[in-house]
């Protein structure tokens, strides 16, 4: 379990937050929509976790222990929050442009 509650009731993302933790995070955020999220101790966050944070409109506090999260994902989340500069959301199931290159569905690769 890497989603914990902190001293003042905030949600702490600790260590390597995996896809299983996304469900827990959703529960926490639904329980208290105004709860703070802190990722200071987060060393890695699965795409599923980031997806939940975005859906909740949350910008985690602190500086994560992962340079990719800090330098790339953090700013992306911040931009997503700022209404005007956010990357426009695509309607669900938008058609792909025809000339994109599809990647063959190979066997899943464990990272």
């Amino acid at each position: 379990m890497t989603i914990k509650l902190g001293d003042i009731g905030e949600v702490l993302l600790i260590g390597d937050c995996s896809v299983e933790d996304a469900d827990v995070l959703i529960q926490r955020l639904l329980e208290d929509p105004s709860v703070a999220v802190d990722w200071t101790k987060c060393t890695n966050a699965h795409t599923a976790i980031i997806q939940v944070l975005m859906a909740a409109g949350r910008l985690p506090e602190g500086v994560p222990k992962n340079s990719f999260l800090e330098a790339m994902v953090g700013p992306a989340l911040r931009r997503d929050q700022e209404v005007n500069s956010a990357f426009p959301k695509q309607p669900r199931g938008a058609k792909e442009p025809n000339d994109t290159i599809a990647i063959t569905k190979g066997p899943a690769r464990q990272e």
């Binding site: 699965h46 599923a48 975005m54 997503d80 990357f87 669900r92 994109t100 990647i103 899943a108």
Partner: protein
């Protein structure tokens, strides 16, 4: 450097030369099948060699080229000029790596980016072949990206859009982890479909959309997302504004100032330095493509001796995107490499000759032992005299032969220099839109390695002149009834103890009248003597310092670096240069070079009790001047010799030795000439003339100034031979 690397460098260079020749032949359409096979083998062998020294980046680059060549071999692909250019570019990059390896002794660690550029060239070509044109970047997501982040996009790199499959998490995939594997990310944007709320999100279904920008190559993005379930779209970013910090901008501006500086002295050095700084700045900022572009330009500029395009390219980077786009893009580069032959290949028959000589010398040595024993046993020395003489004659002959054989080992065929020219002539003539048929003759003529190695630059200068000034443009040639393609012949032959190298063109020849005019205008010689000189004598004036008759300044030549530099370079290796011209029919420049530079004639002189040597070709004469006639000028001294004032230095003083106390009435002076200036060197005593095998200084003493080399005197003392020019500097 370990033996593997040494051998690798040697072989790789040979393979590169061979592949280059094959590529040029292929372009001309010569012997297709065999040439393609040979070319393919050369690339293949190079790749194998890269594997042996564990140089992965080089292997990768060559593999990409080899794949494409294999398509050519299977006749599924045509040979196009672009293909030849790409292959030549690949070989150029490998040569650069080899240069680095030669200094460091191991494969460069930062070669991946450059390898990526090469791989991309070949792989992208393969992709583009599908629809025949590069993909356009009018995708909606890219437009949006540009609208939001326009100013932050790098000049070179890629923008990517990835939409993972919904069930991607179930396959154990983490799309953001894939993204984290893309090198040199600049920015990331993430988006969920509109209306996604926490209440109804399925945590195990991926709905995220990823947009990112990286300075890395398309291929490294492909590699990072390989096998990831989803749809990946990549757009390559081309010339855009180069973002540079203020301090780096001013650094680049300083380089432009440096490049714009006038004066021919140290020009190439300045250019190289400014180019290097620019490349470093760009590399530091991660603008690898731009850095590679400048590196290519720099080399071309160094060959042409003209920095204009380099200045334009740096300026346009400072100016912004529009400028960058208009900067000339050169895929192929012309290289000047000062070859440092650490290892030489020697014909085994020459080694055998040495082995035989050693055998004969041993026999002679034993004969002396026998004679010594006879004397010891009380045989009258007079009876042995004839025997002794005979052995001495034999020894004399053997030592002479040994000397010649050893010299032969240092001998290289001129092919080593000549084979670099077809490629260069192609580059130069294409760049100025002239058609040139280039022929080399007598490549197997041999000369001392030192001579062969120092021939490249003067020859390049002459050939460049022949293309640029000598040959007319195709239209003029046709009007004059000549074939539209100019012919330039680079020829070598042995003539007694000399090696003759000629560059002959069938161009317009040298305009003698114009040379007379210019010489008179510039007061090179008094008018009276000019009118007395024959046409042939006048033509030789093109080698005078600062003489250039070209009225138009082209990008190639005519910017003040004259043929005098050729003359200086040839004279440095003990040769002479002359020109023969027939107006309307062409001209021929001839270099007469010594076969070897090993045997030097020296004159000895004594100072502070030590014997020193001067190369005899720098000594003009010796003179005795009464001390009262030596005049002090400033801190130095001078004397007058036949109405000329000649600066004088004291040898002992200038070498930091305690001067001699001998108070002679007359100063003994060796009058020397170097770089066209006379100088006097005061010595204590004049010595003798002798032929010596000059041994250059090496190790710690290699860079010692004022010393040309050493040799042993008959009595076993070391004779230091001085470099006169450096003494006066």
């Amino acid at each position: 450097m370990n033996e593997f690397v040494e051998q690798f460098l040697l072989e790789a260079r040979e393979l590169i030369e061979q592949a280059t020749n094959d590529l040029l032949a292929l372009e001309k359409g010569e012997g297709r099948k065999e040439t393609i096979d040979a070319l393919f083998r050369a690339f293949h062998t190079l790749k194998g060699a890269a594997g042996i020294v564990e140089f992965a980046a080089m292997g990768r680059a060559l593999h990409a080229a080899e794949e494409t060549l294999s398509e050519v071999r299977n006749e599924t692909r045509e040979v196009s000029p672009t293909l030849v250019d790409d292959c030549l570019g690949c070989l150029d990059q490998i040569s650069r790596w080899l240069d680095e390896m030669e200094t460091t002794g191991e494969p460069p660690t930062n070669a991946d980016a450059a390898a990526d550029v090469i791989v991309k060239k070949f792989v992208v070509k393969a992709h583009d072949a599908d629809d025949g044109r590069p993909r356009t970047s009018t995708k909606a997501w890219f437009e949006t990206l540009r609208n939001i982040h326009g100013g932050k996009l790098p000049a070179a790199g890629v923008a990517l859009h990835f939409r993972p499959e919904a069930d991607t998490f179930f396959r154990g995939e983490d799309p953001l982890a894939r993204l984290a594997g893309v090198p040199e990310l600049v920015l990331v944007d993430l988006a969920l479909p509109d209306g996604t709320v926490l209440d109804d999100i399925d945590p195990f279904s991926c709905v995220l959309e990823i947009v990112a920008v990286s300075r890395a190559s398309k291929d490294s993005v492909w590699a990072a997302f390989e096998g990831a379930p989803g749809v990946l779209d990549i757009v390559e970013l081309h010339a855009g504004a180069v973002e540079l910090r203020q301090d780096l901008q001013s650094l680049l501006q300083a380089q432009i100032l440096l490049l714009n500086e006038n004066g021919t002295e140290g020009r190439l050095g300045r250019m190289a330095a400014a180019g290097r700084v620019t490349i470093n700045v760009l590399q530091h900022e991660g603008l690898l493509d731009a850095a590679a572009r400048i590196a290519a330009l720099l080399e071309t500029c160094l060959v042409k001796g003209d920095a204009a395009t380099l200045i334009a390219a740096i300026q346009s980077m400072l100016d912004g995107p529009a400028g960058v786009e208009s900067a000339p893009h050169l895929d192929t580069t012309v290289r000047v490499r000062a070859p440092t032959n650490l290892v030489m290949r020697v014909d085994s028959s020459r080694i055998d000759a040495l082995v035989n000589l050693t055998g004969e010398l041993t026999v002679t040595k034993n004969a002396f032992g026998h004679i010594a024993a006879l004397i010891q046993n009380g045989v009258d020395p007079k009876e042995i005299l004839a025997d002794l003489r005979e052995q001495q004659t034999r020894l004399d002959r053997l030592v002479g032969e040994l000397q010649r054989s050893v010299l032969k080992i240092r001998v290289l065929p001129l092919r080593q220099v000549f084979q670099r020219f077809p490629r260069l002539v192609r580059e130069i003539s294409t760049s100025i839109g002239k058609s040139v048929t280039f022929v080399t003759e007598g490549e197997s003529t041999e000369a001392d390695a030192t001579i062969v190695e120092s021939l490249f630059e003067p020859l390049l200068h002459i050939v460049r002149n022949a293309i640029d000034h000598g040959s007319e443009d195709p239209a003029t040639r046709k009007a004059a009834g000549k074939p539209s393609s100019a012919s330039i012949v680079l020829r070598a032959r042995r003539q007694l103890e000399n090696v003759i190298v000629e560059v002959e063109d069938d161009g317009r020849g040298i305009d003698v009248r114009r040379i007379r005019e210019v010489a008179a205008d510039r007061d090179l010689l008094p008018k009276a003597s000019l009118s007395e000189m024959s046409d042939n004598e006048i033509v030789q004036l093109i080698f005078a310092p600062g003489f250039s008759t070209s009225t138009e300044v082209t990008g190639l030549s005519g910017r003040g670096v004259g043929l005098d530099s050729v003359k200086a370079a040839v004279e440095r290796i003990g040769g002479t240069v002359s020109v023969d011209s027939h107006p309307g029919q062409g001209s021929r420049i001839r270099l007469t070079l010594p076969f070897t530079v090993m045997v030097t004639k020296v004159m000895t002189a004594e100072a502070a009790g030590q014997v020193f040597g001067f190369a005899l070709d720098t000594v003009v004469e010796t003179a005795s001047v009464p001390r009262k006639d030596l005049a002090a000028i400033g801190r130095g001294r001078a004397f007058v010799l036949r109405d000329r004032t000649i600066p004088l230095i004291n040898l002992a003083e200038s070498l930091g030795l305690s001067g001699s106390q001998e108070a002679t009435e007359e100063a003994r002076i060796v009058v020397t000439s170097s770089a066209g200036y006379l100088g006097g060197i005061e010595v204590d005593r004049l010595g003798e003339r002798m032929d010596v095998m000059l041994k250059p200084m090496d190790g710690l003493l290699k860079n010692m100034r004022g010393v040309a080399g050493t040799t042993l005197l008959g009595d076993g003392r070391v004779l230091i031979v001085l470099d006169v020019q450096e003494l006066f500097e």
